[in-house]
C-alpha cells in the first residue's frame, strides 16, 4: 500500500506545486521518486519528528500543502504537541502520513507498532482521520487528503495487502464503503485487517450467517448513518481494528450508539487488549494471538450473535 500511496502522491504533486514532503529520515526505497522529481519541494529534516512537524506547519501556513511521513507512531506520538498546538490549532494544511499502521512491522517490536494512534489523534479537534484498507481506498484517500483543506491523518498500510474492493470505488471522507451486503450482522472494520474480515465472513456464510461488511475508512468524522443503518437493519455490529481496544474504531462506533440511543441487537469490539504487545512475530501471527485473524474473528462473531 505504501508504494501505491507514494506513486499517487507523486502523480498529484506533478499537477499541484503546493505539495511539499517533509521527512524525518525514513522512506528508503519509496520516497526517492518524489525527491528526485521535486528536489525544491522535498526536505529531510533528519531524525527529528518535532522539527518535521513544525517545519511542515510553517510551510503550510504560507499557502502550501505539507506532507509529513514516517513509520508507525513516529510522526504522531513523538510530535503530538506539534500536531495539537501548531497544526490543528492553526488549521494548517499538513497531512500526517504513517506507513505501517497497527502491527505491520510485527517482529520489529512494540516501538514500531502503531496501536494507540487512532485514539490519540481522534481526541484532537480539527483533524480528519483516514485508514484505507486496500490499494483502491489508498489511491482514493490520497486524492481526498490533498483535496481536503486542513489537518489530515492518513494511516497507511505497509506492503503486500490484499485488495478488498473489486475495483475503483466511490470515495468520500466520512462516508463508509460497503464491501458486501448482508443482514445477519455488520462487520465494521478499518484498514488492511479487512482482508481477514472478508475471510471470516466467507466462513460464516457457509454456516448461513450473512455478514454485511463495511469499511469504516474514515474514523473521524465517523459515518453515523452507516452505524444507524447497521443497528436498524442487521442483527448487530462487530467492529474489527488493528489497534488498542481503547479509543479507536470500536470506541467511536460505541460512542455513536450511546449518544444516538441506538439499539444494536448485538455489539462486540475486536481489537488488541489494553496491553503492550510484546509478543515476537509477524503481523499475521500477532493478530492471530489476539483473535484478529479470520478464525478468531469468525469465532467472536458467532459468540456475539449467540448472546
Amino acid at each position: 500500500m505504501r508504494a501505491v500511496f507514494n506513486k499517487t502522491l507523486l502523480e498529484i504533486a506533478k499537477k499541484d506545486p503546493r505539495i511539499h514532503m517533509v521527512l524525518a529520515d525514513i522512506g528508503f526505497g519509496e520516497i526517492e521518486p518524489f525527491r528526485d522529481t521535486f528536489p525544491e519541494r522535498y526536505y529531510n529534516v533528519g531524525v527529528a519528528e518535532q522539527n518535521m512537524t513544525g517545519v511542515a506547519c510553517g510551510i503550510a501556513m504560507e499557502g502550501n500543502i505539507a506532507v509529513t511521513y514516517s513509520i508507525a507512531n513516529f510522526p504522531t506520538l513523538r510530535c503530538l504537541e506539534q500536531i495539537r498546538n501548531d497544526v490543528c490549532y492553526h488549521d494548517a494544511n499538513v497531512k500526517i502520513v504513517i506507513i505501517g499502521g497497527g502491527v505491520s512491522y510485527g517482529a520489529l517490536g512494540m516501538s514500531h507498532h502503531s496501536t494507540e494512534d487512532l485514539a490519540i489523534m481522534r481526541a484532537l479537534p480539527n483533524i480528519v482521520i483516514e485508514v484505507p484498507c486496500d490499494n483502491y481506498e489508498a489511491v482514493a484517500a490520497t486524492h481526498a487528503m490533498i483535496e481536503h483543506n486542513g489537518p489530515f491523518y492518513y494511516r497507511c498500510g505497509y506492503k503486500g495487502e490484499k485488495d478488498i474492493h473489486s475495483g475503483p470505488i466511490d470515495f468520500k471522507i466520512g462516508k463508509a464503503n460497503t464491501v458486501r451486503e448482508g443482514n445477519d450482522v455488520t462487520l465494521m472494520f478499518c484498514g488492511p485487517i479487512g482482508s481477514e474480515v472478508v475471510k471470516a465472513a466467507d466462513m460464516l456464510k457457509e454456516e448461513g450467517i450473512n455478514c454485511r461488511i463495511v469499511s469504516m475508512h474514515t474514523i473521524k468524522p465517523i459515518d453515523k448513518d452507516a452505524i444507524a443503518d447497521a443497528c436498524k437493519n442487521t442483527g448487530g455490529i462487530v467492529t474489527i481494528e488493528e489497534h488498542n481496544i481503547i479509543g479507536g474504531l470500536g470506541a467511536a462506533v460505541a460512542e455513536v450508539i450511546a449518544d444516538e440511543a441506538l439499539c444494536p441487537k448485538a455489539f462486540k469490539r475486536l481489537a488488541f487488549p489494553d496491553v503492550n504487545v510484546a509478543k515476537i512475530g509477524g503481523q499475521a501471527w500477532i493478530r492471530d494471538q489476539y483473535g484478529l485473524q479470520a478464525n478468531g474473528i469468525a469465532e467472536s462473531v458467532r459468540a456475539a450473535l449467540k448472546k
Binding site: 526536505y43 533528519g46 522539527n51 513544525g54 502550501n64 498546538n85 501548531d86
Partner: protein
C-alpha cells in the same frame, strides 16, 4: 530612535497594567524584551496594520509566548488592534489570552508551550524561499525556549538549509522558570555554540534601541547562514525591586506599588 524608546516605555507600562489587572504572571519576561519588540515593530519589520496579511510582509513569531502582553501593547501602538482590548487582557470573553494567539490581528502564530516557534519559523523561511520572496522571518526566543530539544532540531536544520532569511533573537535575561539559567541548563558559551552550529552570531545590548537597530538592520550577517542575535537583557528591566529576579516571572505589580512603578518607568521620578 526616540520613538522606539517611547514604544518600549509604553510596552512596559501596558505590561505592568495588564498583569496587575489580570493578577497574572510573566511581567519580567515582557519587560526584558521591550526594546527588542519596539525596534522590531517600529524600525525593522515590514508589516502594515492596514494590510496585516500582505503576502510579502516580514513574519514575526514570538516563541516565548508567555510574554504576549508586550506584543499586544506594540500591536495596539502600531494600530493593529484597538487600544481598548488591552484593558480586557486575560478577562472572561476577552480578546487577548495570556499566551500569544494568532486570532489577534498582526500575530502570525500562536505559541505558549516552549520549543514550537523556531521549527515553524524555519518552515516559513523555507516557504519564503520557495515563493522567491524577499520577506524575512524573525523569531524571538528565551532562555527556557532554548532548553527545548525541538529548538535545537530547528537550529541544526536552519543551518543545513542555509536559511539566511531567518533571524533568531534571544532575549537573554538569563533567568528561567525555576532559577538562573546558569544553574539549570547553562547556555554558555552560547555564541561559540551557535557559530559551531552554523549560524552567524552577533551580541548586543538588548536594552539599547540604537544597538538593536544597527544589528537588526545588518541581517543577514553572513550570506547563506541564519542570523542569531544574542540580546543581553535584564529580566523585569525598569522595575528596580523586581529586576533580575525569578519572582518577576510570577509576581505582578500590586495596586499599592503600581503608580510609583509607572511613574518611574515613564521617567517622571528618579
Amino acid at each position: 530612535m526616540e520613538k522606539c524608546k517611547q514604544i518600549a516605555t509604553q510596552i512596559r507600562v501596558d505590561s505592568v497594567k495588564m498583569t496587575n489587572a489580570a493578577h497574572s504572571g510573566h511581567v519580567g519576561s515582557m519587560l526584558s524584551m521591550a526594546e527588542i519588540i519596539a525596534v522590531l515593530y517600529e524600525k525593522i519589520l515590514n508589516v502594515d496594520p492596514k494590510n496585516p496579511k500582505a503576502p510579502d510582509r516580514d513574519r514575526f513569531i514570538l516563541s516565548k509566548g508567555h510574554a504576549a502582553a508586550g506584543v499586544y501593547s506594540a500591536l495596539a501602538q502600531k494600530g493593529f488592534i484597538p487600544e481598548e482590548w488591552l484593558s480586557r487582557y486575560y478577562c472572561d470573553d476577552g480578546k487577548l489570552m495570556g499566551h500569544i494567539s494568532h486570532k489577534v490581528p498582526g500575530v502570525e502564530f500562536s505559541t505558549g508551550s516552549l520549543g514550537h516557534g523556531l521549527p515553524v519559523a524555519v518552515g516559513m523561511a523555507i516557504a519564503a524561499r520557495y515563493a522567491k520572496s524577499d520577506r524575512r522571518v524573525f523569531c524571538l526566543t528565551s532562555d527556557g525556549d532554548m532548553n527545548e530539544g525541538s529548538t535545537w532540531e530547528a537550529i541544526m536544520f536552519a543551518a543545513q538549509e542555509h536559511l539566511d532569511n531567518l533571524i533568531l533573537i534571544l532575549d537573554y535575561n538569563k533567568i528561567q522558570a525555576l532559577g538562573f539559567a546558569k544553574d539549570i541548563e547553562d547556555l554558555s558559551p552560547l555564541a561559540d555554540r551557535m557559530e559551531n552550529f552554523g549560524w552567524a552570531v552577533r551580541e548586543v545590548d538588548g536594552h539599547s534601541v540604537e544597538d538593536l537597530y544597527e544589528t537588526l538592520s545588518a541581517v543577514p550577517f553572513e550570506k547563506g547562514k541564519p542570523s542569531f542575535v544574542i540580546a543581553h537583557t535584564v529580566k523585569a528591566k525598569g522595575i528596580d525591586y523586581l529586576e533580575n529576579t525569578v519572582e518577576s516571572h510570577y509576581r505582578f505589580v500590586p495596586d499599592e506599588k503600581i503608580d510609583g512603578v509607572i511613574a518611574k518607568l515613564r521617567g517622571e521620578v528618579k
